[in-house]
Amino acid sequence: MESNFYLIGVGGQGVIKLGQIIADYGLKKGEKVKFFKEVGMAQRGGPVHCEVRIGNIFGSRIPPLSSDIIVVMELSEGLKSLEFIKPGGTVILNRKRIYPIDMMAHPEKYPQDGEIIRLFKEAKAKIIWIDAGRIALEAGLPIAENIVLLGALSFISSFDEESVINMLRKHIPRELDKNIAAFRAGYETAEGMDK
């Protein structure tokens, strides 16, 4: 297995937790792992991104055009990841906008969903458009958007479900049942789109 995962969003969405689970999954599968995280001013509403590289690859950062999967937790942040998507790779776009304070009164300044999708299409990415917020809410745990996306990512990457659930047990012991429900719902959503 040799895979690159690029995960991006803003502070508080659980981007790093998502990366930790994927990295630990790779380690448990006996693979070499690199896990880079850029947190910066995340506590203060800033952008957050992390990269997980699994397999016999050396650098800590994903080279351009080399991400097999990109998970965009906040739509506009996804624009920063276009450089890294592998042609034919998959981008999981979470239908979520978080306006910075100075944009709240002018939501029309925020980029159109259609334009973000168009750019990823031009970059030859397969697109999974998912409303993780709604799915997480239905699973009874609105905060578990990242786990819904983990589900979708696990389907696309053919992760072994039981091992991922063991990772959930280890990394998020609280509200485990709801997290598993969120994971399954994400998995099934991606599976449904594949048909």
């Binding site: 203060r44 509403g45 050396f58 650098g59 942040e77 920063k80 276009l82 973000i116 750019l119």
Partner: protein, 628 residues
């Protein structure tokens, strides 16, 4: 056994495996997590671990430990070496008996705002050997090696990391714990070694330090670590006249490029960057005629390679920073390294993403200005300060506010835009005095956080008192070294109330330094705080305001709950004055809806600082009582 560890966590593991008895340091990105990791296991480890008041103090403590024959590690970011440098230079001449390792993390690419200083120059100027980390495994292995070298040569050793090593996690093979024989603390009086009285002694010490360097070079050059890493390593490619010499964090991407593009070239890895393995470099240069030097920040290795090529009297084309193949600025991404390799190979390896896509994405990008956290007491302080300046009939751009390092500097950003400068730990207070002596007649105000004040704010405060410089110093005391991840400092009130440390009170320090006008304010009580700041600014001498409120994130962890606020939608006009005055992340603005009504919302993330109440001209912000 393999574990997923960041570079800093791997350093901590190395410390545990090396029999170190004392670890100290001062927090600073990207070095902080070494001590944080060790502190979380303090009880089991049974060793002394502390956050010292500053890097110089930390280094001196570690030196005392090493002079008593035991092993000590001291950690800091590159800016911290500047602070510790005075003592470092001196101890480096004296040497030590127990192992003394200085872990310093540089920050190419600036993950936390500060100069992109290259700490490797300190190794040169202080005559101290330096190991440069190239992988997370090395973080563990080289701690052990650094202590081994330190004790063999009898002098301190630098262990240098960078952000892309310290903050990246990787699978790291955990080693065996070293079984050191029990050591009794013992210090032999030897004033020719441990004092600097007299030229003869100092020059003899200088010679000793140089001898230690040579010995360190000898030990490291052929050294192979437990997990099989060679500190310095040469690989010749038959039939190729091209070569790469590299050091530090560039290793991963360089090796990846070799594999990805199936490149055939010779390479030389340098793990000890001071002193450099001159013989090895010489042998390498004899076999190549085009060399690329890969190292982040300054061309330290490159300059030496040039020197060696010159002495060798061989014409070798050396590519790097001097010929502008590579930049002096920022960390080296895969792309930068690939581009440099293209120059070396004189051929294109791969093109990246369609520039049109990237250009468009850049245009659409949403800027996310950083603001204070929800409930941050600093928001209240700067809000009150700006109000005070306004009430005194000054314009904001007339009053110089010198800022300092840490969360408090966010007062430079919107919406407050109070701070004008950020220099170094404690520098706000010295700078402010300079502005006064230069003849700035209007009030000058210095703002500084609690930990920064303890670190380096006290000497300039004493100076201001002694020289009778009229200025106002606002100490924003949130009780924590918050920016780097909530480390304790001498002013921290311990979480459980049980502690083996004694809290030092900032107000008492100021009194002891001769400050006659000290006021304590609560930044959440905006009206009163503004009045007090006005009084302080009007005071003719040195006045101090201690703005005291615990960091809201820490207070939240302690389950402190204050009454939250809500917006009375009937009264709210949607004017957004609250939002534009405070930029509180708990606020959401709803533009005109179907009923043609725009309004603010305060979400459940509200901490209850209550500042928004002071901003609303319509009294639309109310306290939530009994959940309503």
């Amino acid at each position: 056994m393999k574990k997923l560890l960041t570079g800093n966590e791997a350093v901590a593991e190395g410390v545990i495996e090396s029999g170190v008895e004392v670890v100290c340091g001062y927090p600073g990105t990207p070095s902080t997590e070494v001590i944080l990791t060790l502190l979380s296991q303090k009880e089991e480890l049974g060793i002394h671990i502390e956050w010292s008041t500053n890097e110089k103090v930390a280094f001196e403590i570690a030196s005392g430990v090493a002079w008593a024959g035991k092993r000590a590690l001291v950690t800091m970011k590159m800016s911290g070496v500047n602070v510790a440098a005075d003592s470092l230079a001196s101890v480096a001449y004296s040497g030590c008996t127990g192992g003394l390792v200085v872990f310093v993390a540089d920050d190419p690419g600036v993950s936390a705002g500060m100069p992109e200083e290259d700490s490797r120059y300190y190794a040169k100027s202080m005559v101290v050997p330096m190991l440069d980390l190239a992988s997370q495994q090395e973080c563990l292995d080289y701690v052990k090696l650094a202590f081994e070298i330190s004790e063999k040569i009898g002098g301190p050793v630098f262990l240098r990391s960078t952000t892309d090593i310290s903050h990246v996690a990787s699978d790291v093979e955990i080693g065996k714990k070293l079984k050191l024989e029990k050591r009794e603390a013992h210090f032999e009086r030897d004033i020719a070694k441990y004092t600097k009285a007299g030229a003869a002694w100092c020059m003899a010490q200088h010679q000793d330090a140089l001898n230690r360097l040579a010995e360190a070079s000898k030990i490291s050059d052929s050294y192979v670590t437990e997990s099989g890493i060679k500190v310095n390593e040469t690989q010749f490619e038959d039939g190729s006249k091209l070569g790469v010499i590299y050091a530090g964090a560039v290793e991963g991407s360089f090796k990846e490029a070799l594999k990805k593009y199936n490149l055939k070239l010779s390479w030389l890895k340098i793990g000890m960057v001071h002193p450099l393995p001159e013989e090895r470099i010489k042998k390498f240069l004899e076999k190549v005629d085009r060399v690329l030097v890969l190292e982040e920040l300054d061309p330290l290795v490159e300059a030496e390679v040039m020197k060696i090529a010159y002495l060798l009297n061989k014409k070798v084309k050396i590519l790097g920073k001097f010929d502008k193949t590579l930049s002096l600025i920022g960390n080296y991404s895969f792309k930068k390294i690939k581009n440099a390799l293209e120059v070396l190979l004189k051929t294109k390896l791969e093109s990246g993403q369609d520039p049109k896509i990237l250009e468009r994405a850049k245009e659409l990008e949403v800027k996310r200005p950083t603001s204070f956290c929800i409930g941050c007491p600093h928001r209240g302080t700067y809000f009150a300060l700006n109000k005070a300046i306004k009430n005194l009939k000054y314009k904001k751009d007339e009053i110089i506010v010198t800022g300092d390092i840490g969360c408090t500097i966010l007062g430079m950003s919107k919406p407050f835009e109070s701070c004008w400068t950020e220099v170094a730990m404690g520098a706000s207070i010295g700078l402010a005095q300079g502005f006064k002596w230069a003849g700035i007649e209007k009030p000058v105000i210095a703002t500084i956080g609690d930990s920064t004040f303890f670190h380096a704010g006290i000497p300039p405060l004493i100076n201001a008192v002694y020289q009778k410089v009229p200025l106002t110093i606002i100490i924003l005391d949130n009780g924590w070294t918050a920016m780097t991840g909530f480390e304790e400092n001498p002013g921290t009130v311990n979480l459980n109330g049980v502690t083996n440390t004694k809290r030092v009170d900032i107000v008492e320090i100021c009194q002891g330094c001769g400050i006659e006008d000290i006021q304590i304010i609560d930044p959440y009580q905006s009206k009163k705080a503004t009045e007090n700041i006005i009084k302080a600014i009007e005071y003719p001498g040195v006045s101090v305001i201690v703005s005291r409120r615990e960091c809201a994130l820490q207070a939240k962890r302690k389950k402190i709950r204050l009454p939250q606020r809500k917006v009375n939608i009937d009264k709210c006009t949607g004017c957004r004055i609250c939002l534009s005055s405070l930029a509180c992340p708990a606020m959401v603005f709803h533009p005109k809806d179907a009923n043609n009504k725009a309004y603010m919302e305060i979400t459940s993330a509200c901490f209850g600082c209550g500042l928004c109440e002071f901003t609303c001209p319509f009294g639309a912000i109310e306290v939530i009582k009994d959940g309503k």
